[in-house]
């Protein structure tokens, strides 16, 4: 059965919260919150079900983190948002924006992690009120090789994701737009690249130790040794303890390709995941291939893919879905949700078989997070 869901929507112009009934059929809208603020991520703490953190900035003002301890009813600013230490020369980095907020391990209440642009890893141990840099990454001797100052996305180079192993809080993965995936076994104290067999077609050595653009990584919730990755150069799967990724996107239809921003694992089936392909040909339009939006699903760990497009426009649908804007809930059947750069919010309540539009005319959607209500 399904349960009531809240969708936490971050956009280029503010945040919205959509709340459903238990059947996920009727939705109410709450917002805008912080109208005009650039909201890269809005996340509920699953450990208490009421604390929310919001990564925000504006066109003019510097970046900050807003906190709510009452499910989004009221907000206060973090006393000390993520910021690099004072430094000289090239090392004088300043946070342009926080991009990713990750609640810590269930056994570490109050711990949160943040990834920023330029790439930086930050940790809070007081529920997001104060933040400190993680020197193990930010001051790593290879930092400038992993995160060159001229690398990155149009919005800047990113430490775009943080994944914590539910079995071990010291075991972490991060994804970056300039160095690929990195792994830590000591709570971020030290890091190693984890990019074997992942292509970087834009470098002279197309399979380097690091330098890849890891758009999104996700653990399979029921097989924590399985990592999915949507990379700038294809769809991959990694089954630990191996350190060699397999390009499962080669099984996608060639006219669609395997380029995209994000990948969503099934909450209960470790062989199932969804992607939202985009056009990565020629000048990289980064829109739905052919103007026909579709999700693709694998149910055999990437050996094959099936198209799911019922309800989406049959033509002239030039969707782009960014890294943080596609997610699943834990319902039975699974609900899927995606937000487009054109400000549309779409959902499927039957595991992708059919889609319907929940909202139009929002600002450009940066992130969609589903959480129990």
């Amino acid at each position: 059965m399904s349960h009531a869901i809240q969708l936490l929507i971050g956009t280029r112009k503010g945040a919205w919260i959509y709340r459903s009934d238990a059947a996920r059929q009727a939705w109410t809208v709450d917002g805008p919150h912080f109208l005009g603020c650039i909201v890269n991520h809005l996340v509920l703490d699953p450990r208490d079900g009421r604390t929310m953190l919001m990564a925000a900035s504006t066109g003019h003002l510097g970046p900050t983190v807003f906190r709510s301890t009452d499910g989004g009813a009221t907000w206060a600013e973090a006393a000390r948002p993520p910021a690099f230490p004072k430094a000289e020369g090239d090392n004088a980095r300043s946070v342009d924006h926080s991009f990713w907020l990750e609640p810590g391990h269930v056994g570490e209440p109050g711990v949160w992690w943040a990834g920023t642009s330029p790439p930086g890893l930050f940790v809070s141990r007081d529920g997001g009120e104060t933040w400190d840099g993680v020197a193990g990454f930010n001051d790593h001797p290879k930092y400038w090789d992993w995160c060159p100052a001229d690398g990155g996305t149009p919005d800047g180079a990113l430490l775009n994701q943080i994944v914590i192993d539910p079995r071990d809080p010291a075991h972490m993965y991060i994804a970056t737009s300039t160095g690929g995936v990195f792994e830590s076994l000591d709570s971020g104290g030290s890091w190693s690249p984890l990019n074997k067999n992942v292509e970087a077609s834009f470098l002279p050595d197309p399979y380097p130790e690091y330098g890849q653009d890891a758009h999104y990584i996700a653990l399979a919730p029921t097989n924590l040794d399985r990592l999915w990755q949507q990379n700038h150069c294809g769809i991959y799967r990694l089954d630990r303890p191996s350190d060699a990724w397999e390009r499962i996107g080669k099984q996608m239809p060639p006219e669609i390709g395997d380029i995209g921003f994000t990948i969503v694992p099934h909450p209960r089936d470790a062989d199932t995941a969804w992607v939202f392909p985009m056009d990565g040909t020629e000048v990289w339009p980064r829109v739905s291939p052919g103007g026909r939006p579709a999700v693709y699903r694998t149910r055999d760990a990437g050996a094959s893919w099936e198209r799911q497009d019922a309800g989406f426009p049959r033509e002239q649908g030039w969707f782009t879905v960014k890294r943080q804007a596609f997610c699943a809930d834990g319902g039975k059947p699974v609900g899927l949700y995606l937000g487009t750069t054109g400000g549309e919010l779409w959902m499927s309540d039957d595991e992708g078989a059919s889609w319907r539009c929940l909202a139009r005319h929002l600002p450009e959607i940066y992130s969609v997070v589903a959480a129990p209500l």
């Binding site: 003019h60 003002l61 900050t64 600013e77 006393a79 948002p81 690099f84 300043s94 946070v95």
Partner: protein, 87 residues
Amino acid sequence: MPRVSLPSQLQSYSGGLSRTEVPGDTVAAVLDALDARWPGIRFRVIDEQGRIRRHMRIYVGQDRVLDIGRTLSEDEEVLLFGALSGG
């Protein structure tokens, strides 16, 4: 005491005030005094390296401030602006 003009972007901190006065003999000291009154406001204007953020502007009277170490006299006015930042 130097006068300070606050742009709309910062008035969520000042409770809607657009003008105030705070002590300080440099622009940096004025910003510190503003932050002591309204915590968080300084970091929205000045980054962690002490640089004025790209889309903020600071003037003392008619003079553009590029270094927040600029000294102030008691009767000068510090004007903060949100500059153009795109659509």
